[in-house]
Amino acid sequence: MTYIENIYICLVAPLFLAVFIVRKSWRKSLVFLIAGMSCCVISAYISSFLAGNLEADSATASHAISPMVEEIVKFMPVFFYKLVFRTEKKSSIHAILMVAVGFATFENVCYLTTNGSSNLLNLVIRGFGTGAMHVVCGVMISVGMFFLWDREWLRPLGIAAVLGMAITFHAIFNIIVAAPGIWCYVGSVFTISLILIYLVFLKKKLSE
């Protein structure tokens, strides 16, 4: 059994202390990193509860329940930040990515403690693949926010729709990486290549 709340305290403690010490411009990033880790703990509890309630096995839970819970919970801190502080789009996009990174980091640590750290190749693939998937979902939501936030009537419907897209992408990734053989690598390489496509072709165009 993995005591994720103990791991959470252990990981978050130094970051939490650093929040009070680092420069103001860095503070926001650290807070969102911690928020991402907190989201991971919360979504683990909610997913387990829902899986129990729907009598789903672990495979079904991993591709049908946890993507939905994780993406919605991950979006909540940024949604709160955007609504309460009425921040600029750029700042929110940065926040979404930091939450995604925090989430992926904590998930990887939990994976390490459960499955051990002996197989380096597996861990590299897992680390980059899952990290890339969470970042791709973050980018998807941030691109959606970038285009759909400006008009009020488009905002709630558009954001709900973009969240739906992120959930489906997450679920597809979970199914592919759980498949035996080469598929785990294919899934990871695919998400990493999506990030590369974004960096090479889309980022500059979007920032224009």
Binding site: L54, A56, A59, T60, H63, A64, I65, P67, M68, G144, F147, L148, W153, L154, L157, G158, A160, A161, V162, G164, M165, I167, T168, F169, A171, I172, I175, I176, A178, A179, W183, L202, K205, L206
Partner: protein, 229 residues
């Protein structure tokens, strides 16, 4: 096997449309292209999820929350495309204001909710209610415009509404057929409607292109793209 090939062809068609819409959204900076890119994107993700489940798990999803999410998203984006085009034309003022024209489209939500009650015999309650709500909203708008066909001048907007209506009809055809037929061959009517959907989806692209042309054309030149009353 037929199911996999048919779904794969549909996925390829949608992905090509998505890439086209995405390129135009980035190059032209028009909201309609952005919404179309999201519409195709969410539809492609839904189809991919279905395909991945069939290929890797050997069955359709047991808990269909995720695929439902992507279908909700697709209908939502199609509604947003319709609303955006409707608002851009300023038809809110132009179309008929006779009360009967607002009352007749109410058959759309009545139909969607009746069908939802029927589908509840086979599936979940909440997802059917959400589908009925989204489809009811979309079909209400489409029927409203189709009833005002003579008042609506733009050819492209008429075409957009017609194709969106066909899209909804093929969706309902698929859902209803899947309640009565179980085979996975071409003899199953489900696949007829699915093929109809695959044919309908790319038709949006030229229509949206024409629609944007109409919107960006100077007022005095608009007659070129619009049909006279």
């Amino acid at each position: 096997m037929f199911e996999i090939i048919e779904t794969l062809i549909q996925l390829i068609v949608i992905v090509i449309c998505m890439i086209h819409a995405l390129v135009y959204a980035i190059a032209k900076r028009r909201d309609l292209w952005t919404l179309m890119a999201f519409f195709y994107g969410s539809y492609a993700l839904g189809v991919s999820y279905w395909l991945v489940c069939i290929v890797f798990l050997g069955e359709t999803p047991k808990v269909s929350m995720v695929s439902d999410f992507s279908w909700y998203t697709t209908y939502l984006f199609l509604f947003l495309v319709f609303r955006e085009a409707f608002a851009m034309h300023g038809y809110v003022e132009a179309v008929s204001k006779k009360p009967i024209m607002f009352v007749i489209p109410v058959i759309a939500p009545i139909f969607t909710f009746s069908m939802a009650i029927f589908y509840m015999r086979f599936g979940a309650v909440i997802s059917n209610v959400i589908y009925a709500l989204l489809m009811g909203m979309l079909l209400y708008g489409l029927i409203y415009v189709l009833l005002n066909f003579k008042v609506v001048k733009s050819k492209s907007f008429r075409a957009l509404c017609l194709v969106a209506f066909l899209f909804c009809v093929s969706e309902y055809g698929m859902w209803t057929a899947s309640c009565f037929f179980e085979g996975t061959g071409i003899s199953n009517p489900y696949y007829w409607f699915d093929i109809m959907l695959t044919v309908t989806v790319p038709v949006f692209i030229p229509i949206i292109r024409l629609e944007i042309k109409t919107q960006t054309a100077p007022v005095k030149n608009r007659n070129k793209w619009e049909v006279a009353e």
